[in-house]
């Protein structure tokens, strides 16, 4: 190592490592593209698969032909377009949104535990939804709208509480956890005081299921995703600088507070819309990002890959929840079952590396 410094810096560089650096970058970029494409293909395959399985099996080609209106067959169309497509599209969209927003949160706040599940965004949505269902006997679109409002309001409250000459990731996470506990407590209180039937309706919303999205919520989610996903990808470059720490990011010329607010807004909206459509599907936002980052070996922003991993998790969970078990379960139960062991592993290993915050 020291011998490298014996060489004066003005001596012309040997061409070999230079070429290697450029070739290395091309190779890594190609790897990112390949891995991301494969993840996208797997997500699409699962999207199709969820529509093939059921009491009336449909072939993959029939699903694709009906979904993309390549040919008309009334009986197939009824099963695919009317019965199965809404759930499959919800699972796909919710997974994309949760996967991407989870990774943005984690990178932005510099903490693998900082997923919207834990920092009070999902619990804000849950509390508002529970109150709407139990106290005001709301249902359908109203609950979704109230949940969306709850997620956005709680994110805004956390941001304001965390503000002190700007917002740091660390303070946002701690205050978010506090706010989350507050909402969980209120939700528990409201449910405990409710009639059994209301409590049951609230609980089934709170577990989260891709089957519960109505047509309007789904349309809103899809239109928003069409805007927010490309926007997030464009902001991935800012995210890649912000994750070096505030000082380094500012030194590189990033306006950190503006960039953080922009990224937080986009990711909060993604979570809020997904939660409004399907309820708080647990753990997807927590696990999708780290899986994607690991598959890409830390290259690139990983945002698109994380979105695909999120979609894969939700679609898989939906397959398992709807077909693999003796009784159909909400999606959130299955994702919770996958996520809990991961969380334990994360808590056990993260603190060993001293990065638990």
């Amino acid at each position: 190592m020291t011998d490298l410094l014996d060489r004066p810096a003005d001596q012309p560089a040997a061409p070999e490592p230079t070429v290697r650096v450029r070739r290395g970058r091309r190779f890594r970029q190609a790897r990112v593209v390949v891995v991301t494409t494969i993840l996208g293909a797997v997500a699409f395959a699962l999207f199709v698969a969820t529509m093939m399985i059921g009491s009336f099996p449909v072939s993959a080609w029939e699903v694709i032909a009906s979904t993309f209106r390549l040919q008309d067959d009334p009986s197939i169309d009824f099963i695919v377009r009317d019965l199965r497509l809404p759930t499959a599209v919800t699972a796909l969209a919710v997974g994309l949104a949760l996967g991407m927003s989870g990774l943005i949160f984690q990178k932005l706040l510099g903490n693998p535990l900082a997923s919207p599940d834990f920092v009070g965004i999902s619990s804000g949505a849950s509390m508002f939804a529970a109150v709407a269902i139990i106290t005001f006997h709301a249902s359908g679109l109203v609950v979704s709208g109230v949940a969306l409002l709850g997620a956005v309001l709680s994110a805004g409250a956390i941001y304001l509480f965390a503000w002190r000459d700007g917002v740091t990731g660390y303070r946002f996470v701690l205050i978010g956890i506090g706010v989350s506990e507050f909402f969980v407590a209120i939700t528990g209180y409201v449910i405990a005081r409710a009639q059994v039937s209301d409590a049951r309706a609230a609980m089934s919303w709170l577990v989260g299921s891709v089957g519960q999205a109505g047509a309007t919520e789904l349309r809103i989610l899809l239109v928003s995703l069409a805007v927010l996903l490309p926007l997030s990808l464009l902001m991935g470059r800012q995210l890649g600088v912000i994750e070096l720490g505030d000082d380094a990011a500012q030194g590189l010329g990033l306006r950190v507070q503006a960039a953080r607010l922009g990224l937080l807004t986009v990711s909060v909206l993604l979570v809020a819309l997904a939660t409004a459509a399907a309820g708080p599907v647990a753990f997807v936002a927590l696990i999708a990002g780290p899986i994607a980052v690991r598959l890409l070996r830390g290259q690139g922003s990983g945002l698109l890959a994380a979105a695909f991993v999120g979609a894969i998790i939700v679609l898989l969970a939906d397959l398992v929840a709807a077909h693999a078990l003796p009784a159909a379960l909400p999606t959130g139960v299955v994702t919770g079952g996958i996520g809990a062991p991961y969380l334990i592993w994360l808590l056990a290993t993260v603190n060993r590396e001293g990065r638990g915050g």
Binding site: M1, T2, L4, L5, P8, A9, D10, A13, P17, T18, R20, V21, R22, G24, R25, R28, K107, G110, P112, R164, D165, L234, R237, G240, V241, E243, L244, G245, D247, A248, Q250, G251, L252, G253, L254, R255, P290, V293, R294, L296, R297, G298, Q299
Partner: protein, 269 residues
């Protein structure tokens, strides 16, 4: 290298409601190595952050080529002044080449992502710091000394005429401290970069500084060439330490030999 004029005029900086640096005037000598020393909490890191436009002045201004940096766009400042903070964060799993590439941020637009100039800058930075052979390694697999050279490479990839470093040797053993300071001297001599370093080690500061700034309680006590300004009185004033000053047998620059309460065999010089 274009020559630049970075100076602070009547600069007051602080956090919350405490002033850390007050009414300070300083000029960074162009094309030289400036080292800022002082006891803990004397405001030396704060001054460095202020010079890099990380803090908004309470009073006065930091002027880059005659213009207040607060009035410049942050990316424009970042094309001229680079900063390596004390504890930058390496993202999970990131490789050396990718991290060094992040230094290109101020040169890239919202849509324009990567150009041949970016490649060339990254390669030059990795060459200069001897990290080209590590390009594909994850940061987490590197030693402390290697890691610090990678961060310096990132600051170099930013391709600024001024590079500010906040205690870059803190977590390094003595071998790697010397190695890093040698590297920074190479960059200064071969590439003409103006370098400002906050350092803890007074003797290394005296050896490597063209211009030494000694700070205490948010003010500059003395500044100039180390051999012109370092004496026992200054060390006593700035660090509250009784010491003898002898010529460094290797470099001839002043060497501070502390006199503690124990193991003192000779009377004060």
């Amino acid at each position: 290298m274009t020559s630049h004029d970075l100076r602070a005029e009547d600069l007051t900086l602080g956090y919350a409601d405490v002033d850390i640096v007050s009414h300070l005037d300083v000029q960074v000598p162009d094309g030289r190595i400036t080292v800022i020393v002082g006891a803990n909490a004397c405001g030396k890191s704060t001054l460095l952050r202020g010079l890099a436009r990380l803090l908004k002045p309470r009073s006065g201004a930091v002027l880059l080529d005659g213009k207040a940096v607060q009035d410049l766009r942050s990316v424009d400042v970042a094309k001229v002044v680079g900063l390596l903070p004390q504890t930058p964060v390496a993202p999970d799993g990131i490789t050396v080449a990718d991290l060094v590439g992040r230094g290109r941020y101020p040169h890239q637009g919202f849509f324009r992502r990567w150009s041949p100039e970016d490649d060339a800058a990254v390669e030059a930075a990795m060459e200069a710091t001897g990290t080209a052979d590590l390009a594909e390694r994850p940061i987490s697999a590197l030693s402390g000394g290697q890691r610090q050279r990678v961060w310096v490479a990132m600051a170099l990839a930013q391709d600024t005429d001024l590079v500010l470093l906040d205690e870059p040797t803190t977590y390094l053993d003595i071998t790697h401290q010397v190695e890093l300071l040698d590297l920074l001297t190479d960059l200064n001599r071969a590439h003409g970069k103006t370098i400002v370093i906050v350092l803890h080690d007074l003797n290394l500061a005296c050896r490597y500084a063209d211009h030494l700034i000694a700070m205490k309680s948010g003010a500059i006590v003395r500044e100039g060439a180390p051999q012109d300004i370092i004496d026992a009185d200054l060390v006593s004033d700035v660090f509250g330490l009784s010491s003898d000053i002898v010529p460094d047998p290797v470099s001839g620059t002043p060497m501070v030999v502390p006199r503690g309460r124990h193991h003192v065999a000779t009377p004060a010089l």
